[in-house]
């Protein structure tokens, strides 16, 4: 048992999956000798060789498309897109192929691939390197979308994604890549997909979020607890398919919900959760369902990015507002 960063935990999961199953291979730009620009694939080429740890030419649509072909032929490709900002050319393959190969062929061909990409802001990265556009992917039927929020969940969820028989997009909140650390045991045990994690329980307000915003959300919950407001904090983890039961259950208890995400507000995935509450949970609501999100503006360059991303303050203010009702 060791205290690992998320990068190390992901690396451990990849090594584990490759050791356990020889159909698993990793591919992407700079994932071989360089070990990936964030080092998630560090050392894998030495252990598993360049056939299974395969640097690709610079072409994201191709990376996704080749992965579909590999997966249809019973391999389990784990492809890396270097940053989410470069994932868009791969969307065609996700929508038109990966997510529907099984449906189109009535199960004759399947697509057990994983597409990994770091996403999100807060590390003062160059233009196009800090966006959070997970909602675009969460709308694609037949696709799973998974976002870990800690090293241990990264390990267990990545294993689950690789073992799943269907395509999974696995977005990694790069702001959490190097801190905090967490105990991660290389047990080979996957965490369940399609299930939110309840990270903190409290009876006053339900805070729902995913990825890097867990950091600010848990901090806000801490600060609010000191002021007497007890929050339940739920990490959605698998955005698609969305399992609402724990969220409905919690909001049924608290009557209040604040949803937090880095992505722009409009069309963000928080809207889906709020909409479900407005339908299935309306009668129990004591206060408006509030979202604290990125603005509907282009993610600014580093000098302004901190103003773009939801802060602990903004979360606390939103909670205070919903607490002021009823």
């Amino acid at each position: 048992m060791a205290e690992l960063t998320m990068v190390e935990a992901l690396n451990l999961a990849l090594a584990r999956a490759m050791a356990d199953d020889e159909t698993v291979l990793v591919l992407g730009e700079d994932i071989g000798r360089d070990g990936g620009v964030f080092r998630v694939t560090d050392g894998l080429i030495d252990r598993f060789g360049p056939e299974r740890v395969r640097d690709t030419p610079l072409a994201e649509a191709m990376i996704a498309g080749v992965s579909v072909g590999l997966a249809a032929q019973h391999m389990r490709p784990v492809a890396e897109i270097q940053f989410m900002g470069f994932l868009y050319p791969a969307i065609d393959q996700l929508v038109n192929h990966a997510s529907r190969l099984r449906t189109r062929t009535r199960g004759r061909l399947t697509c057990p691939m994983v597409l990994r990409a770091p996403f999100g802001g807060g590390i003062h990265a160059p233009e196009h390197h800090s966006e959070s556009m997970e909602a675009m992917l969460a709308h694609i039927p037949g696709l799973r979308l998974v976002i870990p929020s800690s090293p241990a969940r990264a390990y267990g969820l990545l294993l689950a994604a690789i073992r799943d028989s269907d395509p999974v997009v696995f977005l990694e909140p790069k702001r959490l890549y190097r801190a905090p650390r967490e105990e991660v045991f290389d047990s080979g045990e996957a965490l369940p997909l399609d299930q939110p994690f309840v990270l903190r329980e409290g009876d006053n307000v339900t805070l729902v979020t995913w990825g890097a915003m867990l950091k600010e959300t848990l901090e806000a919950a801490e600060r609010l607890a000191a002021a007497g407001a007890e929050c339940t904090v739920i990490d959605v983890a698998t955005l698609k398919p969305l399992e609402m039961a724990p969220i409905l259950e919690s909001v049924g208890r608290t009557g209040r919900c604040v949803i937090i995400h880095e992505a722009p507000l409009t069309g963000g995935f928080g809207g889906e959760i709020a909409a479900r509450l407005a339908d299935q949970g309306l009668l129990g609501l004591l206060a408006p369902v509030t979202r604290v999100a990125g603005y509907d503006a282009v993610m600014p360059l580093p000098r302004l990015e901190e103003h773009y991303m939801p802060s602990v303050d903004r979360i606390v203010t939103a909670v205070e507002r919903v607490m002021s009702f009823g």
């Binding site: 072409a59 579909v68 590999l70 099984r102 449906t103 061909l109």
Partner: protein, 364 residues
């Protein structure tokens, strides 16, 4: 074999086209072995005639509202059938919407094809070639799949190849170039066949690209490009066969431009007279592949009128039986749309499936 500039075509640098049969069906010297095998040649011919007959029937069904929009392969039968005939059963085919002939040659049933074009996913659940890809509609997007599948073969040390067919229009798309480029770098057992029918809907070849030939595009990615007469089934089969061998044994990918012509409309919703001259089409009818092969069969193998008639009867019966089976196939249950969404239905979607099954208009 006819090479206008001997040896040059293989480099992709000239217009030299590989050809064994002249448009009138007479042979050019040095025929490949299989061309003297009467049974094999008759089988090739049969598949082409069957493909054309299937096409006609599909159009008739569409015209009477019993099939969806359909893309005929009229005039291009030699490319599809010739290429598929060169394949081994455990190779895999990645076709577009105009390679019915290749699918038929691979063992996809006519009923399955009608089902697909009739709007039923079960038409892509081939009983025959289980690992072949379904018909690809987003142009060129299946080309990287061929590379991925071929890489799987290579990694598993299987002597198999992936054969991917697509049109001249597809060569303008990034997918084409990106996939061929990585196939070149990785040296995977993949054969890329361009069925160059001179048109992409209304856009002529010259408006797609300014390259001398399409085969020459191989140079950009370091893989060999060859131009072959796509209306000569013998040449297509031979050239694709050679390329498949190189793929299976040496892991060397190649690009084959089969030069042919789309004699029909783009699809049943297209009206080609809006954008191209009848005269151009008339000219190309003189080069069409089925008459050519029939002339060769007759001259070289004594193919008789009786044999021809028997074949047509047999084919008519086969196509009619397939139509009947297709029309007798009930639609799937609506809830079937959830049945192959994931390996098993996520609990979060159970409600939607139930709503659809019960048709109760619930809250989604």
């Amino acid at each position: 074999m006819d090479r206008t500039v001997p040896g040059a075509a293989k480099t992709g640098r000239t217009h030299a086209i590989l050809r064994f049969l002249r448009p009138d069906g007479t042979a050019i010297g040095g025929l490949p072995g299989f061309a003297s095998d009467r049974k094999e040649m008759a089988a090739l011919y049969r598949l082409m005639v069957l493909t054309r007959s299937f096409d006609e029937q599909a159009i008739a069904l569409q015209r009477t509202g019993r099939l969806g929009t359909y893309a005929s392969s009229l005039g291009q039968e030699a490319v599809a059938v010739g290429a598929a005939a060169a394949m081994r059963p455990d190779d895999i085919l990645l076709p577009t919407f105009r390679e019915h002939g290749a699918q038929i040659a691979r063992g996809v049933t006519l009923t399955e094809l009608f089902l697909f074009w009739g709007g039923d996913e079960r038409g892509s659940d081939f009983a025959g070639p289980r690992e072949d890809f379904p018909v690809n509609i987003p142009v060129a997007s299946h080309i990287p799949h061929a590379v991925g599948a071929a890489l799987a073969f290579k990694m598993r040390k299987e002597r198999r190849a992936a054969l991917c067919i697509f049109g001249d229009g597809a060569t303008s798309k990034g997918d084409f170039y990106e996939a061929l480029n990585v196939a070149g770098v990785w040296q995977v057992p993949c054969v890329f066949v361009i069925s160059n029918n001179q048109w992409a809907i209304s856009v002529p070849r010259a408006v797609q690209t300014r390259s001398d030939t399409l085969a020459i595009k191989g140079i950009a990615v370091g893989i060999q490009g060859v131009q072959v007469d796509g209306n000569d089934a013998v040449a297509v089969r031979e050239v694709v066969g050679e390329a498949l061998e190189k793929a299976r044994h040496d892991h060397e990918p190649s690009l084959i431009e089969a030069v042919t012509y789309r004699l029909g409309d783009h699809t049943t919703v297209d009206d080609a007279s809006r954008y191209r001259d009848d005269a151009e089409v008339g000219k190309h009818w003189k080069e069409e592949p089925i008459a050519r092969l029939r002339a060769f069969l007759t001259a070289e193998h004594g193919w008789s009128k009786d044999e021809e008639e028997d074949l047509l009867t047999e084919i008519r019966e086969q196509v009619e039986a397939a139509v009947e089976a297709y029309l007798a196939t009930d639609a799937q249950e609506p809830a079937a749309m959830f049945d192959h969404l994931h390996a098993s239905l996520p609990p979060a979607l159970a409600g939607q499936r139930a709503e659809l099954a019960g048709k109760d208009g619930g809250d989604g």
